[in-house]
């Protein structure tokens, strides 16, 4: 049945009144509980709009297949050997590119009336955004799983074992979560979701391409090597390679990634909240 009943009598005064009867307000939920509720909302949306996962699924598959078979023979002598080098890189690249959608989603969401309702409720203020990012972490996890599964099918054999792979994924997720805050800022500043995409692409492509994802930077000119030396994505790739291939990582490799993550969060999370609070 698609229509509402033909009389008003189905809304009876008795049920209405009993439903309205003053309900005591439960205690305010904790910051964590409120954030997790918003994370649940993000996951529910995936249930209804599975198309939004297309990017998460397509990007890793295309990148891994294309680069392995396009460059593998030329760069490493065989596609199999190149895959060992490339896969930690495509894992990082995929997840880093997917962070863009944190801003796109927020930009779409925040202009709807439902955000007004959230903002007029007595909840931990950052919860709607933190929750959405937690939902995004779910997508990052999915993208990571896809890349690794595909790699295993193609012949990737991580020397670091299960532990090495899990630690790599964890490190990538921490970095991606921190990087997402840049996109929440963009999502709050830019006028349309497609503008967020454009700026995101302009920022992310140099970060992922001018790095050690595809090749060893040794043959590159000095200025590019210098850039890669400070590019956090390159450091993440180095750490990921080391963890996946050998199951070990130096304090310097991991420290740099964690430091960058902390710095990104420390700068862009408060900025996001400031913009969010003043959003009309």
């Amino acid at each position: 049945m698609t229509t509402t009943p033909t009389t008003d009598s189905r809304i009876t005064n008795a049920t209405l009144r009993s439903a309205l009867f003053t309900h005591a307000r439960p205690p305010r939920p904790s910051a964590l509980s409120a954030s997790l509720t918003f994370g649940w909302r993000a996951l529910l949306k995936i249930k209804y709009v599975p198309e939004q996962l297309l990017d998460v699924i397509a990007i890793p598959i295309i990148f891994t297949l294309m680069f392995t078979y396009l460059f593998g023979g030329a760069l490493a002598g065989s596609t199999g050997e190149y895959l060992q080098f490339l896969l930690p890189g495509t894992l990082v690249m995929t997840v880093v590119l997917v962070t863009m959608y944190a801003g796109v989603g927020l930009n779409t969401d925040i202009t709807t009336g439902v955000f007004d309702r959230f903002r007029s409720m007595s909840i931990w203020r950052p919860a709607p955004i933190v929750g959405a990012l937690l939902g995004d972490v779910g997508r990052y996890l999915l993208a990571s799983t896809l890349v690794i599964m595909l790699g295993l099918v193609l012949g990737f054999r991580p020397g670091g074992g299960v532990i090495g792979v899990l630690l790599t994924v964890a490190l990538v997720l921490v970095f991606a979560f921190s990087l997402s805050w840049i996109f929440t800022v963009l999502g709050l500043i830019m006028r349309t979701p497609s503008a967020v995409m454009s700026v995101g692409t302009v920022v992310l492509f140099p970060l992922t391409l001018a790095s050690n994802v595809f090749v060893n930077p040794q043959t590159m000119p000095g200025w590019l090597q210098a850039f890669i030396g400070i590019n956090p994505v390159a450091h993440l790739v180095t750490a990921a390679r080391s963890l996946m291939m050998h199951g070990t990582v130096t304090a310097g490799q991991i420290g740099w990634v964690l430091l960058t993550s902390a710095a990104l969060t420390a700068i862009f999370a408060p900025l996001t909240m400031l913009l969010y609070r003043n959003k009309r």
């Binding site: 009144r17 439903a19 649940w40 709807t112 009309r280």
Partner: protein, 333 residues
């Protein structure tokens, strides 16, 4: 804790300026606890801006506003714990189902998962939405969406409920349902502040009305006070035989005590009915006038006694008709 207050809302010189537009200008307002207060005005008059400031969504540029004694700028959390907002545009998540929307809000209000589900089902039943519980809101009809939107504001019974144009765009049946619901909410003790573009809606639901134009309150009072300042509306009569119009004009003007207007339709006449203390009396006077026509053998094909429209209210109060101030884009947000 909560300071006791007789007033649900008190504002003093409340002002909001968007670039050059003074969207709300020096509004002084008091709303008694337990009453239904209506904001009446055209699009862009500043109604939504007022509500957004009172619901802590927008900071005033000047003046103060208190909700149950709590300042809307400095005690936002205390205000938020007592109010609910149903915005002009769907303030529910269109991607989720009805049940999920209400559960989401229940969880955010502090209910456990099981409690939130029970409360959501209770509300869906009460609002006759049970069959749509598992349907995405974007597939709801306008009336269902509105009801869910109002239910979403009642997951925990608020002390003050903001309803921004609750029936705009609804068909008459859904509008009646929403009116029923609003009356039940009020009977339950919740103070309601509603905005509307329709005088009859404000008249049906509100006990006091403020007429808003260009960000200012241009008239304020009980329904009776407001209507008597405007007149009770117009009576429209259409005759079977246009030849009899001059005679009908004479009789009507005599019986109603006002001058009668001849419409461009050669069989039609209309007259503004003078203000009288009760609607009852007005009706009686018009009935007598019609009886007068029938006694003189003048056949009437159409007859209507209308409440003054928003246009007529505005004309009477401001001297200019109500216009949509479309240049103020904030109402569209």
């Amino acid at each position: 804790m909560d300071t006791p207050s007789d007033f649900a809302i008190e504002t003093q010189d409340l002002t909001k300026v968007f670039s050059k537009t003074r969207a709300v200008e020096a509004v002084n307002l008091t709303v008694h606890t337990g009453s239904v207060y209506g904001f009446l005005g055209p699009n862009g008059a500043g109604k939504t801006t007022m509500i957004r400031m009172l619901a802590t969504l927008l900071r005033p540029d000047d003046g103060t506003a208190r909700v149950f004694g709590h300042d809307v700028v400095h005690e936002t959390d205390a205000v938020r714990r007592r109010v609910s907002l149903t915005g002009q545009f769907a303030s529910v998540d269109e991607d989720l189902s009805g049940l999920e929307n209400l559960m989401l809000l229940g969880r955010l209000l502090g209910y456990s998962r099981a409690q939130a589900r029970a409360r959501a089902n209770e509300l869906l039943d009460a609002f006759d939405l049970a069959e749509a519980a598992h349907r995405q809101v974007k597939k709801f009809s306008g009336g269902m969406r509105r009801k869910l939107d109002i239910a979403a504001s009642l997951v925990v019974t608020p002390d003050l409920l903001f309803l921004d144009e609750p029936t705009t765009g609804l068909d008459p049946r859904s509008r009646n349902q929403v009116w029923e619901i609003i009356r039940a909410i009020v009977a339950n003790g919740t103070t309601v502040l509603l905005t509307t573009q329709y005088l009859d809606e404000a008249d049906q639901l509100a006990s006091r009305i403020a007429v808003i134009d260009h960000g200012k309150i241009i008239a304020e009072g009980t329904n009776g006070q407001l209507k008597s300042s405007v007149g009770s509306g117009a009576v429209h009569v259409r005759l079977f035989d246009p030849e009899q119009r001059p005679e009908a004009e004479r009789l009507l003007s005599q019986a109603l005590g006002v001058s009668v207007r001849l419409e461009s339709d050669p069989a039609a006449l209309s007259a503004q009915v003078a203000a009288s203390p009760t609607a009852h009396e007005t009706g009686e006077r018009v009935a007598l006038a019609l009886a007068e026509l029938s006694r003189s053998g003048i056949a009437v094909t159409d007859f209507a006694l209308g409440q003054p429209s928003l246009d007529e209210v505005f004309l009477a109060l401001t001297g200019h008709p109500a216009q949509d101030h479309v240049n103020i884009k904030e109402e569209a947000l």
